[in-house]
């Protein structure tokens, strides 16, 4: 059997994975990144708006500091995050942005002089100082106190990923693309790599590593309608949960982005509203000013998405061929702004729905966008449950986002957690690694996956792969969305339980040989349904509203009973439901309080008012 031996295996070639790989390679490790697709095509490249770092360069950032960034992030998380991580994160960010600049990112810069901007429906003026000329400039974003988001036009993810991939090539990181990890290899205590399927010829081979990083991004595709790229199916989370030992944290915390393009569900950056764009209803009325007088269009994403749906429910939505939607209006920002700083957005609207945002408003609707949950790790990005296993970026639940991530904090997190994971796994390999690569264990791990493949090709089941997948998507879309309630969550759990049972009897319509795409889907579908169950069941049990998790039947944030993180284990393969455990978030500096936006009903923890 052909094997790949490496010091470090990184599963996922996006920003987080490559940042971890580069750190380990700089420390002298032999590093292999595996990716479903060429690394530069990873979903990181689709991030538009920018990343948050308290640089304080532009006039509108004067007064900003890492402490303000800390408080904005804690409020955004609705106090669900680990504050020790947030502190580490905000302190690291200015350096992280500057390191990416050193490596070649063409960040937009401060141009001294007067400039105008739109906010709260008004035109304002400010002046950038001469002494800041040529430093990295920043834009406004949702849920923040100052302009803090460093950017390259609206292609920030693209320039970051390309730069990171350049650096990976420079440091000799090996990249194997068109392969997929289908199981982790472990001995019950140590992670030893993964069983990997080649998507060129369908063959399996073990990748053996002293340390393994899961950096596979989010799992938005299980919702069907999502801004996520199509490979964001949660494979890293699936193979971690499948060990029975590694829990997934806060899976019910799902972010819905206020502005996805109808009907293709492509992200339209929050930078549009940061730069002064408005949300309008059927009467061309700026309704966000009614609901959120202070933050208006720039409240946190969970709040804006809820207000939009609330407004549509009040009969103010616009009728379109794909149901109701609302408008995003950026016409007043002008041609130069749209064709430079919002160029990708402008192109996307023109090419995909034939709407020119310079002359027409853009149809938008809140859509699944980000997974706050993922592989639960400690502050070193080391996964709970297995030594030598790490997670970084959206795939992980390091947990600086709690129940709602702020815009611009995710690109930022990929680089911070990638850096930390890369550093800490090197320490682990140098000082603590002590495990054997037992040939029998490895052969057994490969054999188990080959048996699944052979079983699917041999047939015997009667369930259609794509039909089942559609039913899974509908269960989530209909019942586990922006507004949730007990009966609907229960319905989703029951439907998904049934789908999980049926997913054991899949029948391929095609031959299933080699790189067959139907087989690929059949291999991961049961795991995707387990992720869906972890979301729905975690949401059903959480009888409160916090951040993006909003229960119509429990509208208050309940700090008395629910100031805690859900950990979803799948202990036995035959289990019908995940086993849920809970732990308290780390609160070091900021006790639970008011966010200053949103619905703000709170049941305080005992002894506090």
């Amino acid at each position: 059997m052909e094997k790949v031996l490496t010091d470090v295996l990184v599963i996922g070639g996006g920003l987080a994975g490559e940042r971890a790989a580069v750190e380990a390679a700089m420390r002298g490790c032999d590093v292999t990144v595996i990716s479903l697709i060429p690394a530069r095509r990873s979903h990181s490249c689709a991030a538009q708006g920018g990343m948050q770092a308290a640089l304080g360069n532009t006039a509108k950032a004067e007064g900003d500091s890492v402490d303000v960034h800390f408080n904005d992030t804690v409020k955004g998380s609705d106090w669900g995050a680990d504050q020790d991580r947030i502190r580490l994160f905000v302190e690291a960010m200015p350096q992280v942005v500057r390191q990416m600049d050193h490596w070649g990112v063409p960040w937009n810069r401060v141009v001294p002089g007067k400039f105008t901007f739109h906010k709260r429906g008004q035109k304002h003026e400010a002046e950038d100082r001469q002494e800041k000329a040529g430093l990295i400039t920043q834009r406004d974003f949702g849920g923040v106190s100052y302009w803090r988001c460093a950017y390259t036009a609206d292609g920030t993810g693209h320039t970051l990923l390309y730069t990171m991939d350049n650096v990976a090539a420079k440091f000799g990181v090996k990249i194997h693309d068109r392969v997929e990890a289908v199981a982790l290899i472990h001995d019950g205590q140590n992670c030893l790599g993964a069983v990997v399927r080649d998507l060129r010829d369908g063959s399996l081979r073990p990748y053996l590593a002293k340390a393994t990083v899961i950096a596979t991004g989010g799992f938005g595709r299980i919702y069907g309608k999502s801004t996520n790229a199509i490979q964001n199916e949660g494979t890293g989370c699936i193979i971690a949960q499948d060990t029975g030992l590694v829990p997934l944290g806060n899976m019910e915390a799902i972010q819905f982005h206020p502005t996805a393009l109808v009907p293709v569900w492509i992200l339209i950056t929050e930078g549009c509203r940061g730069d002064g764009g408005y949300l309008l209803d059927r009467d061309n009325h700026r309704f966000m000013a009614d609901y959120e007088p202070e933050k208006q269009e720039l409240a946190s994403r969970d709040v804006v998405s809820r207000r939009m749906i609330q407004h549509i429910r009040a009969g103010k939505g616009v009728e379109g061929p794909y149901g109701q939607h609302l408008w995003l209006d950026i016409r007043h920002l002008g041609r130069r702004h749209l064709e430079t700083r919002l160029r990708e957005v402008t192109d996307i609207c023109r090419h995909f729905i034939g709407v020119d945002p310079l002359t027409e408003p853009v149809p938008v609707l809140p859509t699944q966008h980000y997974s706050m949950g993922g592989v639960r790790t400690d502050i070193d990005c080391a996964a709970y449950g297995l030594r030598g296993l790490y997670a970084a970026g959206e795939a992980g639940c390091w947990d600086m986002h709690g129940f709602n991530r702020l815009g611009g904090n995710s690109l930022a997190e990929t680089l911070v957690t990638g850096w930390i994971a890369g550093t800490k796994l090197c320490d682990y390999i140098e000082k603590d690694f002590d495990a054997a690569f037992a040939p029998k264990l490895i052969e057994e791990a490969v054999r188990a996956q080959q048996a699944r493949i052979d079983g699917l090709i041999k047939g015997g089941g009667d369930e259609n792969v794509y039909q089942l997948r559609k039913e899974m998507e509908d269960a989530l879309l209909d019942n586990v969305h922006i507004f949730r309630n007990g009966p609907q969550l229960e319905k989703a759990v029951n439907e998904l339980k049934d789908l999980h049972a049926r997913s054991r009897k899949l029948k391929l319509e095609s031959h299933g040989k080699w790189a067959n795409p139907e087989l690929s889907m059949a291999l991961k579908l049961p795991g995707m349904i387990r992720l869906a169950l972890s979301i729905a069941y975690g949401g059903l049990k959480r009888t409160e509203s916090r951040g993006s998790h909003y229960r119509e039947d429990f509208p208050a944030r309940d700090d008395q009973n629910w100031l805690k993180r859900t950990l979803a284990y799948w202990k036995q393969p035959d289990d019908e439901l995940p086993t849920l455990e809970y732990e308290a978030p780390v609160i070091t500096e900021s006790p639970p309080g008011s966010r200053g936006y949103g619905e703000s009903q709170v049941i305080p923890a005992e002894g506090k008012k």
């Binding site: 390191q99 937009n108 036009a153 292609g155 693209h158 090539a169 995909f352 031959h511 790189a515």
Partner: protein, 243 residues
């Protein structure tokens, strides 16, 4: 708009199965408003032939996965609306790149080799100083770099290149554009002579026949004609001044 029944003829071949000859398969699908080829191909796979191989990732024209020949022209499938197509459309994989299966080609290996050959990163002797603030740079220059950096490596320009189609060793417009991005970046300390070593050759900029198919089809409208001219002039001058 009266609803059309679209006809698609799609190239089918799996290199894992060399016994089965390449063929064109025909599919039909009902057109919908704002339908693009991502929707069409996904639906064909899910409802008609689950073995059909093709590549998508972002489906928003930013990742470069879905370059293919659409009625003979290299384009991104995701941003091709069916309303711009005739009733009958043929789809082939991009030429030049190694074939993976049906509409899928191996751009990953091609581009990775390119990065290594030209040293596709900022070459500098300066160490990163974590305590220092960033280098001051003019915003206009950053916009100029971004204009070239916007390339998504879809490979359409290589597929449309007269030279690349007949010569395996020609680097293609995408490579020239990539190196140009570093040439105008003051953070990169390479000299023109060093650039000349990788680009001042017959398989580099001097292999370009100036047909500019690349510039015509680039789905991101990167200014390739201008960039090719800039690099050619720079390399010619460097060559003249002598090594």
């Amino acid at each position: 708009m009266a609803q059309r029944r679209l006809q698609l003829e799609i190239y089918r071949y799996d290199p894992n199965d060399p016994q089965t000859a390449p063929r064109m398969d025909r599919f039909e699908i009902d057109e919908e408003p704002m339908m693009n080829l991502f929707t069409v191909l996904t639906r064909i796979r899910e409802e008609q032939d689950p073995s059909l191989m093709f590549d998508f990732s972002c489906r928003a024209a930013v990742c470069g996965s879905c370059g293919m020949l659409i009625n003979g022209k290299p384009q991104l499938a995701c941003q091709t609306l069916t309303q711009t197509l005739p009733k009958k459309t043929t789809l082939h994989p991009l030429p030049v790149f190694r074939h993976v299966g049906d509409l899928g080609v191996d751009t990953g290996t091609w581009f990775r080799t390119m990065y290594e050959n030209i040293g596709s990163w900022v070459h500098t002797e300066e160490e990163f100083d974590p305590q220092a603030i960033e280098q001051r740079l003019p915003n206009d220059l950053m916009l100029e770099i971004y204009e070239l950096e916007r390339c998504i490596e879809c490979g359409c320009c290589v597929a449309a290149c007269g030279t690349a189609n007949v010569r395996d060793d020609f680097v293609g417009a995408v490579t020239v554009n990539r190196l140009a991005r570093f040439m105008i970046d003051p953070r990169d300390q390479r000299t023109n002579l060093q650039y000349y070593d990788v680009m001042g050759t017959d398989d580099g900029i001097f292999g370009c026949m100036g047909l500019l198919g690349c510039d015509d089809i680039c789905p991101k409208e990167i200014p390739l004609q201008k960039t090719l001219a800039m690099v050619r002039r720079k390399m010619a001058m460097t060559g003249l001044k002598g090594k």
